[in-house]
């Protein structure tokens, strides 16, 4: 079992040219699962998630040297992953001329076809309910409900105030509850 390095240790090693590749490899190993889950909940499809996570780490490689450590490394990584996911969905919309309202429908469809989705009927229903939420609200709900992230960290990642995030989560929960009761 390889020793897990702290973020500061990884950043220190990345600053040195001779240990840069090694440090980056460790960073990918450390964060790949968390970022994958975060991206997957936004873009749903595995192949799309694979594209987005690769783009995310390529961006990280290009910018990590300038990371000033004012924010936490993991919130910085999440911010890049979130932006990449949103950019990906926007590009998909443009590419296939899908109107915004149909994106949820299309993603829900891919959820049903996705051989990599292991949920039962109620889980599928919950995912469909989540997909009914507006994009930003959906991201907030996933981060709070599944990842149990602190509002302060979410605020750093999404650039939204804690109060607004709490309100957004509250509305999302009410909408999902309504969907679950009425379908």
């Amino acid at each position: 079992m390889q020793e897990e390095y702290s973020d500061d240790q990884l950043l220190d090693q990345f600053q040195q040219e001779d240990s840069r590749n090694f440090a980056f490899n460790l960073l990918v190993k450390k964060y790949q699962r968390r970022l994958y889950s975060h991206i997957r909940r936004i873009v749903i499809d595995h192949d799309d998630t694979n594209d987005v996570i690769q783009n995310t780490f390529i961006k990280v490689w290009g910018s990590l040297i300038n990371f000033n450590r004012e924010s936490q490394l993991y919130t910085w990584l999440y911010r890049i992953a979130t932006n990449e996911s949103i950019t990906f969905l926007n590009k998909k919309r443009k590419k296939f001329f899908i109107p915004i309202v149909d994106v949820e429908h299309q993603l829900a469809g891919s959820l049903e076809d996705d051989s990599y989705f292991s949920g039962d009927e109620i889980q599928l229903k919950l995912q469909k309910a989540i997909l009914k939420l507006p994009e930003k609200q959906r991201i907030v709900f996933n981060m709070k409900y599944y990842e149990e992230m602190k509002y302060e960290d979410m605020s750093e990642i999404l650039g939204t105030s804690v109060g607004a995030l709490k309100a957004s989560y509250h509305h999302a929960v009410k909408k999902i509850e309504h969907f679950l009761l009425n379908r």
Binding site: Q32, I53, F57, Y116, L126, V173
Partner: protein, 215 residues
């Protein structure tokens, strides 16, 4: 302490969730809802490494088994005698230094300066005389120019009266030095002057509006 706070926050949130969304609360939270292909995460770091670092290496393609064969090739090369591949005429280097020296000397002769004239005493005297003539001539000429500035005011007036129509107005304005002009203060507001101007305008049938527009 911090862990306890986080736990109590989480508990509060769960309580709130139970209150506002009992159906959602009842659903078992499943973390591994999305299944990932086998060995995906073990292969991902290498894939990322390829994408970030591999790009530079991709542009150079190495033939198959190149590195396996390379040590043998190098060994063979070391065994080959170092043989001079260019033949040199016999005694070439013996006469080379002389040949080069001869060519350097030839070039130096070819570049002898063309202008190597030293003036005799006669020529020097002639040049000094010429310089004196030029000096005297220019001094005398400048003296004559200075005299033109001393023309009398009457001469200038006469010249201007006869030639004023032929001189361009802009040239005259350019030549005027404002310090030399004495402006006589006039009171155009006086009744007499006003009357005189009005009479002049009426006598000469001058359109006052046209003048106003021009101003």
């Amino acid at each position: 302490m911090k862990a306890n706070n986080n736990t109590s926050n989480s508990d509060n949130e769960m309580e709130q969730l139970k209150k506002i969304a009992p159906s959602l609360f009842a659903i078992q939270k499943k973390e591994d809802l999305f299944v990932v292909p086998k060995n995906y995460f073990s292969a991902l770091p290498e894939k990322i490494q390829e994408l970030t670092l591999g790009k530079k290496q991709e542009s150079f393609v190495v033939p198959e088994n190149y590195f396996e064969q390379l040590p043998d090739k190098i060994e063979q090369l070391l065994l080959i005698d170092k043989k001079e591949t260019f033949e040199i005429p016999e005694g070439y280097f013996d006469g080379l230094a002389h040949k080069i020296q001869d060519r350097v000397n030839q070039k130096q002769e070819a570049y002898e300066p063309v202008w190597n004239w030293k003036p005799s005493a006669k020529w020097s005297l002639a040049m000094v005389t010429a310089c004196l003539c030029i000096y005297i001539g220019t001094t005398f000429f400048n003296k004559n120019i200075g005299q033109t500035e001393q023309l009398s005011a009457n001469d200038i007036k006469q010249t201007l009266n006869t030639q004023v129509n032929t001189i361009d107005e802009s040239v005259l304005i350019e030549q005027v030095n404002m310090d030399d002009i004495e402006v006589e203060e006039t009171n155009v507001e006086s009744k007499d002057d006003k009357g005189a101007i009005e009479n002049y305008l009426i006598d000469n049938n001058i359109d006052v509006n046209a003048i106003a527009n021009e101003l």
